[in-house]
Amino acid sequence: MIDTVVVALIGLLAVAYLLRRLYAAFKPKPGAGACPGCHQCGDASASKRRP
């Protein structure tokens, strides 16, 4: 039973994450320019490191 609940929760989390990514692709945050945030090019992965 616990096994089924854990699997179901993982599934729900995965669906929620994918929906969020889909929404983000079509509605980028202001200031992010035209970047759809696909994390392919490296631009979207700019480090937050401070000097």
């Binding site: 096994d3 089924t4 854990v6 990514r21 994390h39 392919q40 090019c41």
Partner: protein, 617 residues
């Protein structure tokens, strides 16, 4: 508690003068830098503090030679300076970055900026290189003539921005005003530039002779093209030859770990999710990390060396005849990494039609997401053997696939050029940067970022898609007297079988059809999807063999070749389609791109499947 930055600064200057390197140095960001013009096509924002703790917002703008913009990236730089960019305030201070080895080009922009009467500070970057070449600049005289502070920086050195940081506290916020460009004649501006240079350049220095000698070979119409081919050829040979031991190690580790999990857990849904979804699905993509890193090591080293703009210049005449120009070379080259930055880099192309054609063909260039698909197929169907005793057959096949992408893009560009009317001709004016040895630190940082990007994609979007695919492939449960594997009766199985009649003519079975659906999100997802689908299709509980061995046993050569041909063309990347829509401001154009590429993919796969079936029968 956070406080608003005291000042907003904008980095502006000619392309490839070191603005982004300075931005990275000041803010600690790691935005992409390379030794050619047009790398930054969108403004980036970051924050930093000076030694006194005063905080600044810093905008990194696309490079421009003038405020009178002619291309989309230059418009962004101009609008940011004038305060017309939505969501950004007008900069309080403009940090005008000049390449100290080439003041002539940069000073025109300084004079234009002075004419809009906003505070500015001039930064002479690459002052170390200028000094090495014997260039002597009278900094005090330059400051007098320009009427602003002039400081020197070395953006690639750790303490290279010290002089700029010391100067910043002297500036304060300025009121936001409506600004307009002053009308100035270009001839007048350059006359003023010449006057200034006469007074400040006490020694113009010498361009290193060895760089000219290299250019004699690199930019030779025949030798240069042969060298370019040799460079690309070596790159793809290395991708297969060097990566094999590492890939074997990763495969063995994943198989071992998956086997341990399978042995430790009783049969259950959770075990199936871990073994068939995680290890078989996600694990089948992670294997390709070494190949991706080797490919990027070459690309990063070439980007840093100064070779790439020369290749663009070399190909200008060839590309012009086919409907493009050397200007399209950099965007198309960026598309080898990913079509998204490639499409964004088309902003540097001033001719709207040429820009649209470049956008339309950029997804045909072989992006790094195709590499796992190609490598899987090549590894499974092309033997690891030497050709002529030197070359690796697998590397040769990969090289041929990259060439297929390049030739296809050229052919499509040729057709699109002929299909439209005449357009204005823009000559290619390309600044050739100095050669230098690729900096090891820069290449290593770039590789580290690529690894993070790849692993993040695997740990997020690919993992999430595999979990969803596992659910769709596992439910509903099969009927009591089922003769086929459980996945056959699942939702995914039903979908795959519904799609099968459409794809059967190109040799795709229902399992491949299933993998194509999540593969719409990104190309490499198809590899992990195949891993999960075949793991769930196999009999028994033990961890299944590596994906390559499974498809080698179950697919014929015609299907494998048709699958490769499909992936040369298919626009299976949602991010690319969204970016095309955003850059063209048109869903119609994005849909047109998807339709023509899917059409080409189907046609290429059909022809490949028929020919391969005929040869092998």
């Amino acid at each position: 508690m956070s406080t608003n930055p005291a000042l907003t600064l904008a980095l502006i200057g000619n392309p490839n003068c070191g603005k982004t390197a300075l931005f990275n140095l000041l803010t600690g960001a790691r935005q992409k830098v390379a030794n050619y013009a047009g790398v930054t096509v969108e403004r980036r924002s970051g924050e930093f503090a000076d030694t006194g703790g005063r905080r600044y917002q810093l905008l990194d703008l696309p490079g421009t030679y003038s405020l009178h913009a002619s291309s989309a990236d230059e418009v962004i730089a101009r609008d940011a300076v004038l305060g017309g960019l939505k969501g950004e305030r007008q900069p309080d201070l403009m940090v005008v970055v000049l390449d100290a080895t080439n003041l002539h080009l940069g000073l025109r922009l300084v004079l234009e900026l002075k004419a809009i009467h906003r505070p500015l500070i001039v930064v002479l970057n690459q002052i170390d290189v200028a000094r090495q070449r014997g260039i002597e600049i009278n900094q005090v005289r330059l400051a007098d003539l320009l009427g602003c502070q002039v400081v020197t920086t070395v953006a690639i050195a750790r303490a290279g921005a010290a002089a700029l940081l010391q100067a910043l506290p002297g500036f304060s916020a300025t009121p936001q005003t409506r600004l307009a460009l002053a009308k100035q004649s270009v001839e007048d501006l350059y006359r003023q530039v010449d006057q200034i240079l006469l007074q400040v350049l006490t020694n113009p220095g010498r361009y290193p002779h060895w760089q000219d000698q290299i250019d004699r070979v690199v930019m030779h119409p025949l030798l240069g093209v042969l060298l370019l081919m040799a460079v690309m050829f070596s790159m793809f040979q290395a991708v297969f030859a060097w990566a094999a031991p590492l890939m074997d190690g990763i495969t063995a580790t994943i198989t071992y770990l998956g086997g341990m999990v399978a042995a430790a857990m009783p049969p259950s849904a959770l075990r199936s999710l871990l073994v068939d979804g995680f290890f078989a699905g996600v694990g089948s993509v992670i294997v390709f990390l070494p190949q991706i890193l080797i490919l990027f090591a070459f690309i990063l080293a070439l980007e840093d060396s100064g070779y790439l703009p020369r290749a663009a210049f070399l190909l200008d005449r060839l590309m012009r005849g086919l409907g493009l120009s050397g200007r399209a070379f950099i965007p198309l080259l960026s598309s080898f990494a990913c079509a998204v930055p490639g499409i964004m880099a088309t902003r540097t192309i001033p001719d709207p039609r040429e820009r649209l054609i470049t956008i339309m063909v950029a997804p045909l260039m072989t992006c790094s997401a195709r590499l796992p698909v190609y490598a899987l197929m090549i590894g499974a169907f092309i033997p690891r053997q030497a050709v002529l005793g030197v070359f690796n057959l697998q590397g040769l096949t990969l090289f041929a696939l990259y060439l297929a992408g390049i030739f296809s893009s050229v052919a499509v560009a040729f057709v699109l050029k002929r299909a439209g009317g005449r357009s204005q001709s823009y000559p290619l004016l390309l600044e050739l940067p100095s050669y230098h040895w690729p900096r090891l630190r820069g290449v290593l940082i770039g590789l580290w970022q690529r690894m993070q990007i790849f692993l993040r994609r695997i740990g997020t979007i690919i993992l999430a898609l595999m979990i969803v695919l596992w659910f769709l492939s596992s439910y509903p449960a099969p009927p009591p007297l089922a003769t086929e594997p459980a996945i056959y009766y699942s939702l995914a199985g039903m979908l795959g079988r519904a799609m099968e009649p459409v794809f059967a003519p190109i040799g795709f079975n229902w399992q491949i059809c299933i993998a194509l659906v999540p593969g719409m999100a990104a190309r490499e997802v198809a590899v992990s999807a195949l891993g999960t689908v075949y793991a769930l299709s196999a009999d028994g509980d033990a961890l299944k063999a590596a994906l390559g061995s499974i498809i080698q046993a179950q697919w014929g050569l015609p299907t494998a070749f048709a699958f490769i041909a499909w992936y040369v063309y298919a626009p299976q990347c949602l991010s690319t389609l969204v970016t095309v829509k955003r850059e063209t401001q048109s869903w119609l154009k994005a849909s047109g791109l998807a339709l023509y590429l899917f059409g080409l993919a189907y046609l290429a796969a059909l022809v490949t499947f028929r020919i391969a079936s005929w040869i092998t029968s």
